[in-house]
């Protein structure tokens, strides 16, 4: 096989070198030996009639195995080596690529100088990888800040716990009537401060989640009208004190559902900020109205006042900016309305303020309806329902006021493990006032010692303690119990209050989790509930009710109200999910994209029955990674899925044990919990 001068020129121009394979590792150059290749492998190589290319380059030597296999097969097309870098005699590095093919029945090897394509490829790959590294760096930075924030929150929570404990203690005895309002104010304000601290933590966690998922997707939903009602109820006393009338819009259509994207605690804060603002600017003897209205594709909420309206020189945008304050009567730090804007926009909504034509101002926000609202008939009448879970939760989390402590039906022995002496003592005092007996210890090690010496009905275990912390102590207790058939009820306490903190405690083995500062009635309820009915039932008492309600709603819709079918679905899900998770874990560990796509798809289907949008999204992401044969980030997504499935599992167990205590589900839920 020869080559014409024009063909040789073409090869040189293209940076190509063609060799005919003669067998036994020998090649003959087709045409003159290319100059560029001589510069890499040395001039002497061009002088020989045949050349053993494998000896020139270890990479090529390796590739020739593949090339020979190809030439000796009947396969058509070409086989490529991929890029490799060859360092020339002068130290210059040249990217090369080789291909084996057949031409006119000859075995031909093409060596290509891929400098141009290589530079381009390197550039985009460098950019892509730099971006990945930058994203990882940002994630780390956010996580570090989160840790710092948790520490600060924890430190803030400790004295707040003590303050709430003191107020609670004051309400135990007969309080003189003239002191009662002060104590109630103290309780209310400490409760508010607690909500604010949690709000900051939630907002920060929300930001982190948004960065993690790369999407602004919000899965939770809340009833706008219920939040508006709640806000009016909460603020009416404060407004009354200032001689301002606070009312729920009389035109509110109570027959329809007003469920939008968002979550109730943060929505409460938005209404709270609007109302504080209205209270600040409204003259006495005027009316402030809170309402909810249909805004076409969005659901709107508003707070109307009859004050002076917005200052002419202040746009709504400025009002919602960071550290913005009113001109004449400044509010607080100027963070409130900024928080509202940030939150509403993260939920995909809009926020604003305007001067009303009739006078006064309107502060409003609009949110997309909850994703499932149209399915369930957002505009339809509200179905007769049981008492909403949320109301139950609100009652629980609201400040206790001067509700009497009362005596418990049964005296319980409670071990209080808390390193902060004042909190420990106050908790013990409250327990004693309730008629229980309490023993206090200052760390996990002492808790283990106390449990070894005496029997306790319930352990209250603080998470952060010096030496052995609460999580370590809980694990140690569970380890001791393993195989004994015994089960010590442990309620985890923590100044940190995110879902991650809760999950960490539940994973360590606590039966329930109570964020500090806690309300004493809630504490009593949990302890007495636990001691009366065992730990599994407690899950329903401590899990956020909205989530369990949402799962129940989905299940009901999916099964058209068929309870037997629902129970069977829950049972098979609880049994199958761990196996499916193990399959997914295996697929990721083996980097088996096809298996990942199949297993994640199967899990997604079984989870979707319960709604559980976070779990569905995580499973969907894993499935997509599998389908795209791109498992980058699969480990993280798997961890997210694991977390969400744990939540769902708790919700399902709660559903299984709560509504029908005689149901056979209860037994299986118990067993599942015990196995864990």
């Amino acid at each position: 096989m020869g080559a014409t001068p024009i063909f040789e020129t073409f090869l040189a121009e293209q940076g190509l070198a063609l060799f005919e394979y003669l067998g036994k590792g020998s090649f003959r150059s087709i045409g003159a030996f290319p100059k560029w290749l001589k510069e890499i492998w040395g001039a002497e190589i061009g002088r020989a009639k045949t050349v053993r290319l494998g000896e020139q380059s270890p990479f090529l030597e390796n590739f020739l195995f593949d090339a020979e296999r190809f030439w000796s097969s009947r396969a058509s097309g070409t086989v490529n080596s991929g890029n490799w870098i060859e360092r020339g005699r002068g130290g210059v590095e040249t990217p090369l690529e080789a291909s084996a093919l057949r031409l006119d029945g000859k075995k031909v090897l093409v060596v290509r100088n891929s400098s141009a394509a290589f530079a381009e490829q390197t550039q985009w790959l460098q950019t892509a990888r730099d971006s990945v590294l930058e994203h990882e760096r940002l994630m780390r930075e956010i996580q570090n800040k989160e840790i710092l924030l948790h520490c600060i929150i924890h430190d803030l929570s400790q004295p707040l716990s003590a303050m709430r404990g003191c107020f609670n203690c004051l309400t135990v005895g007969d309080l003189p009537p003239d002191l009662k309002p002060f104590v109630e104010t103290g309780q209310r304000e400490s409760h508010r401060q607690e909500q604010m601290i949690r709000g900051v933590l939630d907002a920060f966690s929300g930001d982190l989640a948004a960065v993690k998922s790369h999407t602004g997707a919000v899965a939770e939903s809340a009833d706008l009208a219920a939040c508006a009602r709640h806000a009016v109820r909460n603020f009416s006393a404060a407004f009354m004190e200032k001689g301002i009338r606070l009312q729920l819009d009389p035109n509110l259509d109570v027959r329809r559902e007003w469920r939008s994207v968002g979550d109730a605690p943060r929505m409460d804060r938005i209404f709270g900020n609007f109302l504080e603002n209205a209270m600040r600017y409204s003259p006495p003897h005027t009316t402030v109205t809170v309402g909810v209205e249909d805004k076409g594709a969005l659901l709107g909420a508003f707070v109307d006042d009859e004050g002076p309206g917005l200052p002419a020189d202040q746009s709504a945008d400025k009002l919602f900016a960071l550290f913005s304050k009113g001109r004449d009567r400044p509010g607080k730090a100027g963070l409130g309305l900024y928080f509202c804007k940030m939150t509403v926009e993260r939920w995909g909504g809009r926020i604003g303020a305007e001067t009303r034509a009739k006078g006064g101002s309107r502060f409003w926000f609009c949110l997309p309806p909850a994703p499932n609202a149209s399915e369930t008939g957002a505009a339809g009448p509200v179905r007769p329902s049981k008492k909403p879970f949320r109301e139950f939760a609100e009652e629980d989390s609201a400040p206790a006021g001067s509700r009497p402590v009362g005596k418990a039906a049964k005296n319980l022995r409670v071990l209080v493990a808390d390193d902060t002496e004042v909190n420990r003592e106050l908790t013990m005092e409250l327990l004693k006032a309730r008629g229980h007996s309490a023993v206090g210890v200052a760390d996990g090690r002492q808790a283990l010692d106390a449990l070894a010496k005496a029997r306790f009905d319930v352990v209250l275990m603080d998470e952060v303690m010096p030496g052995m912390n609460g999580l370590e102590a809980t694990r140690a207790i569970r380890l001791r119990e393993a195989g004994s058939g015994k089960h010590q009820v442990i309620i985890g306490l923590s100044g940190n209050a995110t879902k991650e903190d809760e999950k960490r405690s539940l994973d360590a083995g606590v039966d329930a989790y109570l964020p500090k500062p806690f309300d004493m009635h809630k504490l009593f309820q949990m302890i007495e509930f636990a001691a009366h009915s065992g730990s599994a039932d407690m899950i329903s008492a401590v899990r956020p009710a909205d989530s369990a309600e949402s799962v129940a709603g989905h299940l009901e819709r999916a099964t058209a109200g068929n309870k037997k079918l629902a129970q069977s679905l829950v049972r098979s899900f609880l049994a199958d999910a761990p196996k499916r998770m193990a399959d997914i874990r295996r697929a990721i560990a083996r980097n088996n994209a096809e298996m990942l796509a199949t297993t994640a798809h199967a899990l997604k289907g079984s989870v979707a029955i319960f709604g559980a949008p976070e779990s569905v999204a995580a499973a969907r992401n894993l499935e997509a990674m599998g389908r795209a044969a791109n498992l980058h980030g699969a480990q993280e997504e798997f961890r997210a899925l694991d977390r969400e499935l744990n939540r769902l599992r708790h919700d399902l167990l709660a559903l299984a044990v709560k509504p029908a205590k005689k149901s056979s589900m209860r037994g299986s839920a118990w067993r599942a919990r015990r196995r864990k």
């Binding site: 195995f65 870098i85 892509a128």
Partner: protein
């Protein structure tokens, strides 16, 4: 003279190229330059009183953009599974890759390298994870291509394991 093929494997940007460079030329550059394709270097070392040629295959980092081609590993006598101690997810990639290599090539001596150990304040690998990594192959070593810490030791440990018994 004995010649051994050693491969550098691991996620992208863990420092495979830098480790080879440090070992072969004692040079380190702070600038991250991503690798495409394969670069082969050689170095002669003295192990147990004999000269051994190490043929070092620096193979591009595994990620969503580039997947490891198993044919590059043909004939290797040992390998380094490299992770970046400041990025915990690179350990997951390394462990998955190790499993893939073992499935394809059988058991081959390797050393787990936790690189960038000079960045102590950014270290993300939990002692438990490090212990787990050390249980694989010929154990785990902390290395720094920047300071040279652990680099010669790593190459010699692997070379020693490759010598005929």
């Amino acid at each position: 003279m004995l010649t051994f093929k050693m491969c550098m494997l691991g996620s992208f940007s863990v420092g495979k190229t830098s480790l080879v460079r440090r070992f072969v030329t004692s040079i380190f550059s702070e600038k991250y330059q991503t690798s495409i394709g394969v670069k082969v270097d050689k170095k002669i070392v003295r192990v147990q009183d004999q000269d051994v040629t190490l043929v070092l295959w620096d193979i591009y980092g595994e990620d969503a953009f580039q997947k490891l081609q198993m044919s590059y590993l043909r004939g290797m006598s040992g390998y380094f599974m490299v992770a970046d101690g400041t990025r915990h997810q690179t350990v997951d990639v390394a462990l998955a890759l190790e499993q893939k290599v073992t499935e394809a090539m059988g058991r081959i001596p390797f050393v787990f390298l936790l690189n960038k150990c000079d960045l102590v304040d950014q270290w993300e690998i939990e002692p438990e994870t490090e212990k787990n990594a050390a249980a694989h192959g010929l154990g785990a070593l902390r290395t720094s291509a920047k300071t040279g810490e652990g680099v010669d030791e790593a190459f010699l440990r692997l070379a020693l394991a490759m010598l005929p018994k």
